[in-house]
Amino acid sequence: MDILKLLFEPYIFIPLVFPGLVAAFLLLLIIIWLERKIAAKVQLRYGPLYVFKPLGGVIQTIADLLRYLFQEPIVPREADKLAFLMTPVFLFGLAYLPVVAVPISPTYYAFRSDVSLLIVMALTTLAPIFTVLMGWSSNNKFSLIGGVREGYLVISYEIPMFLSAISMAILYKSLDLVEIAEAQKGLWGVILNPLAAINMLLLMYMSTSKFPFEIPEAESEIVAGPYTEYSGIIYGLVMGASYVKLYVLSLVYSILFLGGWNPLPINDPMVAGAMLFVKAFLLVALGAFLRAVYPRFRIDQAISIGWKIAFPLSLISVVISLLLIMGGVSLVVK
């Protein structure tokens, strides 16, 4: 009984169960299936089906996971073995780590900090380093190019993304995610500063290489980019990492722009968490949907979007926030 009680302690429950590991894993299973189903529907077909027909093949991802689990993991002779095997673990870990700082209700969080937004944003920045390292350690030309592309992209999306997030922090006069979410009881951030919302959404998909920015692992150009040499369950880990990163960023995005757990029907931490999860899920699903609409940009175009469009937009959104504050928008709590 004590163990069960311990499980529901926020500092265990949030990282391990919800919105942490278990929820991320479930989301991973569903979103990969859903991505294939959404793409299939737009593409006039059915997508995975026969693996479990009554539910439309929803356990397809489990079959794929099992296959990966029992597949031979190959470590190339030329690769730097330690780096090759450790980077996926670090990548996944760092993609998932920011979740600990995400509150799921005004009263339920692993820890509360005055600067939790900064912590989340800083932690998400770390994962790409390991993608670059992965590209180097495989000792494959395509991996190398993929790693370099990731490196270029990181520089061009991180700063505007940070600025967009900061513009919201300016608006709410707080860097605490709980306060930011609580400040949106009335108007959501997406209405107050739509420019920052659009910009952040764009950059979020860019940072997790969703279409149209699926550039580091551009299939038809550089095979799988940094992941080319990975096989078996290690590849499964790598593949999961980008979805998990998108999931974590979506949680943050929901808190920043979509009101977090507002509107809150019942004042219960789990209901609040479910509300947040649904919003994040929809954002991840939107990312999956974009695959069906867009081809991918070229690297130079993506970089120029980062610097020439996203960067000015983020500066403008900061200015908008400042103007709103000076205009004295009364929605701000503090």
């Binding site: 529907k41 737009v42 006039l44 077909r45 974009l290 609409v293």
Partner: protein, 164 residues
């Protein structure tokens, strides 16, 4: 970002949504439904033992040398001369249908069987005796429903249960 480009982005995404929620589907649910092919489809070939006049035109015209004349031992002994009958080798057959079209007695006929696969090499070779027993039947888990493809103005291809 110019206005026209934004409009185009919106149009692309909206078209995607349109197909996500109201798009047609062209899929033929293959192992459950099989498509009844039109008359004259060049599927696997069946052989009529009795009406064959052993002219060997089919073997002569075959572009892939899949059709071969086998000496029929029983008949040769009975008739006192070399009698040859055609056998087919699906490892080479390219389904061009020349043998059927050149057969002067219609002993070779097209069937609509088109979805057969094999586990081994040897079972794909049909000497005359097996050839005359008819075409192989694909392995189906359940009895499939036969459907007919109907070309549709709005949805491309629809599938209706075949009448026959």
């Amino acid at each position: 970002m110019s206005l026209s480009r934004t409009v185009r982005h919106a149009k692309a995404i909206l078209t995607g949504f349109k197909y996500l929620f109201a798009g047609p589907r062209l899929t033929l649910m293959y192992p459950d439904d099989i498509q009844e092919l039109p008359e004259g489809y060049r599927g696997m070939i069946e052989y009529d033992w009795d009406s064959c006049i052993k002219c060997s035109l089919c073997a002569m015209v075959c572009p892939a040398d899949a059709m071969k004349m086998y000496v029929s031992k029983e008949e040769s002994e009975r008739e006192g001369k070399v009698v040859k009958r055609p056998g087919i080798n699906y490892t080479r057959c390219i389904f061009c249908g020349f043998c059927v079209d050149i057969c002067p007695t219609d002993s070779l006929r097209f069937t609509k069987v088109h979805d057969v696969a094999y586990y081994t090499y040897e079972e794909q070779i049909y000497p005359p005796a097996e050839f005359s027993k008819g075409v192989p039947r694909p392995l189906y888990l359940r009895e499939p429903r036969k459907v007919r493809a109907v070309l549709d103005e709005r949805r491309g291809i629809r599938y209706e249960p075949a009448r026959s």
